[in-house]
Symmetry: C2
Subunit: 153 residues, 2 copies
DNA sequence: TCCGGCATGTCAAAATACTGACATGAAAGA
DNA sequence: TCTTTCATGTCAGTATTTTGACATGCCGGA
């Protein structure tokens, strides 16, 4: 009739909500919600904040770079950048001598806004991992990377 | 975006891309992308598949139940349900004798579609965790839950 | 009993993200 | 050199998701 093939997984997982993917999504959704709420008080959305953070870390990233860094399409990133430009938080070169990518930089206002919002976001991350031992956190980071790599392959 | 040499130092986290939240989002995005691609061949979106899976596990869930279970708003879940109804994959009671929640159930076609798609999704999850030891996976699940709980509190 | 708190379903509107498509510029190879 | 290939920015259209709001139906305590 149909394949009732029992899942030969390392964990029983008879319940969908016990699956790794479900837990991953759940944790990610919880973090997103908390960040969303906290950032609203600073007049930023999560994608906007993500862009600012990336630009502070690596000034001059292009629209496509930011799209990859925030896990959205170029088109979506473009909309976010337009909003940040209108808010005066970033500047983007209108031309370039080499290549087609237009580098983006934070304005002083953008940096200031980032610094104001960063505390709230970092506090959330702190709270999220507060009772997880450092050793397990290291393993967690490594395993998340492994999973990501396994899917990209 | 050029790759930055990932130094496995857990605590300082001087680079944003080393933060737990970033890794979490990255892994979640990778999983979402893989599921999206696989489910497209079965004519399902990720939210649709999620609803079918939940309904198979717990028949009679309401729209609000499914919204919570898929981590979206009631309104979004409502749209998803409408699509599933039009596709004939689910049925929803139009009235109830007690309360306001309208229970949803899978149709035979819905169950069949779920079984067809499930294999592809489970294979993705398998691949995602294939080289992660069972002990670490157990810890991972627990830590994801801890993080979620820390944020809900 | 009555009433305030709560959860639910639903409508409308806006915001957000995606797919598909196209032109441009650069690098690599024949 | 010429051509192919690829990455980028951008436009248009669609789909998805959210915020805000409102009416309905339970349940508890006053």
């Amino acid at each position: 009739m149909k394949d009732r093939a029992p899942v030969p997984s390392p964990h029983p997982a008879q319940d969908v909500t016990e699956h790794v993917g479900y837990r991953l999504k759940k944790a990610s959704a919880a973090l997103r919600g908390a960040m969303d709420k906290a950032l609203r008080e600073h007049g930023l959305t999560v994608p906007q904040y993500s862009c600012l953070e990336l630009l502070d870390e690596r000034p001059g990233l292009s629209n496509a770079d930011l799209a990859r860094g925030t896990f959205v399409t170029r088109q979506s990133a473009n909309v976010v950048l337009r909003g940040l430009k209108e808010a005066g938080l970033i500047t983007q070169a209108t031309s370039t001598d080499h290549g087609r990518a237009l580098p983006v930089h934070l304005t002083p206002a953008g940096l200031e806004r980032l610094h104001a919002a960063r505390g709230a976001v970092y506090a959330i991350e702190e709270r999220m991992i507060e009772n997880i031992p450092a050793r397990r956190l290291t393993a967690l980071l490594a395993d998340l990377d492994t999973m990501t790599g396994n899917l990209e392959a």
